[in-house]
């Protein structure tokens, strides 16, 4: 099993070292896609001994993930895991996602903080996520309990079906739409998200949900 953990990172110099240290020693290949950072993120990742790809300009998390997925598939990955760079994911949850894939013969395992844990999740953020989950369930038909969770695992076949065109935050919804459209089997697995002041500052604000909806609408006009 050749598992690639893809981490999209933009100006994560403060967190990326710790994230990569947490993944060190685990039986996965780690790939950091530096999305045009200006704070030395790529340098730190390179020193940690993982593979680093660098976008020449900042394009957004969705674009960086697609670059990482493409590269991992080119290098023969059997499984691809997407993992956040801000330190809110736990490396030990990756094994749970991979087990869920195998046990359910699924192509996508989606991390769910509402099946697992969400430590220090602010009430407003919880409310927004619940609303977004309800909306996504209605629009995709997927039976899920969480959205915009960056921790997911997929088989090579599943990863090959993704073609993210939403460069920025709307990619998280786009992934779910593409999973639904693929008709492949998906499963949710519990994961724990540990929020910190840093990850909350890097995360989405309420206003960005409006931008996400507009992005998704614009794509419908221009498929």
């Amino acid at each position: 099993m050749d598992v690639w953990v893809v981490i999209a990172a933009y100006n994560e110099a403060r967190a990326i070292g710790l994230v990569l240290a947490g993944l060190a020693g685990l039986p996965y290949r780690v790939l950091v896609v530096d999305d045009g950072s200006t704070d030395g993120t790529a340098h730190i990742a390179g020193h940690a001994g993982v593979e680093v790809l660098s976008h020449p300009i900042n394009l957004g998390q969705g674009a960086a993930l697609q670059t990482g997925i493409d590269y991992a598939l080119l290098r023969g990955a059997s499984h691809v895991v997407t993992f956040d760079a801000d330190g809110q994911h736990r490396p030990e949850d990756i094994a749970g996602l991979l087990t869920a894939l195998a046990a359910n013969d699924a192509d996508f395992a989606l991390g769910s903080r509402f099946r697992g844990g969400a430590i220090d999740l602010p009430a407003l953020r919880r409310l927004m996520l619940r609303a977004a989950t309800w909306f996504t369930r209605r629009t995709t038909g997927l039976d899920i309990t969480d959205v915009h969770n960056g921790l997911r695992a997929m088989t090579r076949r599943g990863a090959g079906r993704l073609r993210l065109r939403q460069n920025r935050m709307a990619h998280a919804s786009e992934i779910l739409h593409q999973i639904a459209a693929s008709g492949l089997r998906y499963v949710e697995a519990p994961v724990t998200i540990q929020y910190s002041r840093y990850s909350l500052a890097k995360g989405q604000r309420a206003s960005e949900f409006v931008v996400i909806l507009l992005d998704l609408f614009a794509q419908r006009l221009h498929p």
Partner: protein, 137 residues
């Protein structure tokens, strides 16, 4: 009359633009085409605009034309947004190709280079060393 000619000229330009855009973004193209054609018609037959405006509850015909103009502007704005998206996608593909290309090059170089023994550094030959090597071989 002056205003009619000027408006006709502008709406005619929009009409041509919308026609040329209909392949790139059909929805926006067709809507802008319809709005511009309606505007052109009402500029020359304002009585019909007034009749239609009264039917629609807008008031005066000239108001209806202003509203149509606003709609055209919004559609053109939307078209611009969609074009921007297309350009962003092209830039993304380019940046991705560069990133992956460099990654693959780095990966293949790492495979091709002989593994240094512990503590041994592999340094490129200097110009003098290279010419000496050529002379002896």
């Amino acid at each position: 009359m002056m205003a009619q000619v000027l408006l006709s000229f502008l709406l005619g330009a929009v009409l041509v633009y919308a026609f040329s855009e209909r392949r790139r973004s059909p929805v926006v193209g067709v809507l802008a085409l319809a709005a511009a054609a309606a505007g052109l018609y009402f500029v020359w037959v304002p009585a019909h605009a007034t009749t239609l405006a009264e039917l629609a509850g807008v008031g005066r015909g000239v108001d209806l034309i202003i509203y149509i103009w606003v709609v055209i502007s919004l559609l053109l704005l939307l078209n611009l947004h969609l074009k921007l998206r297309t350009q962003t996608e092209a830039i993304t593909s380019l940046a991705r190709a560069i990133a992956i290309g460099e990654g693959r090059r780095a990966g293949s170089q790492a495979h091709a280079a002989p593994r240094p023994e512990s503590g041994e550094l592999i340094e490129p030959l200097s110009a003098a060393e290279r010419s000496a090597w050529h002379r002896t071989s």
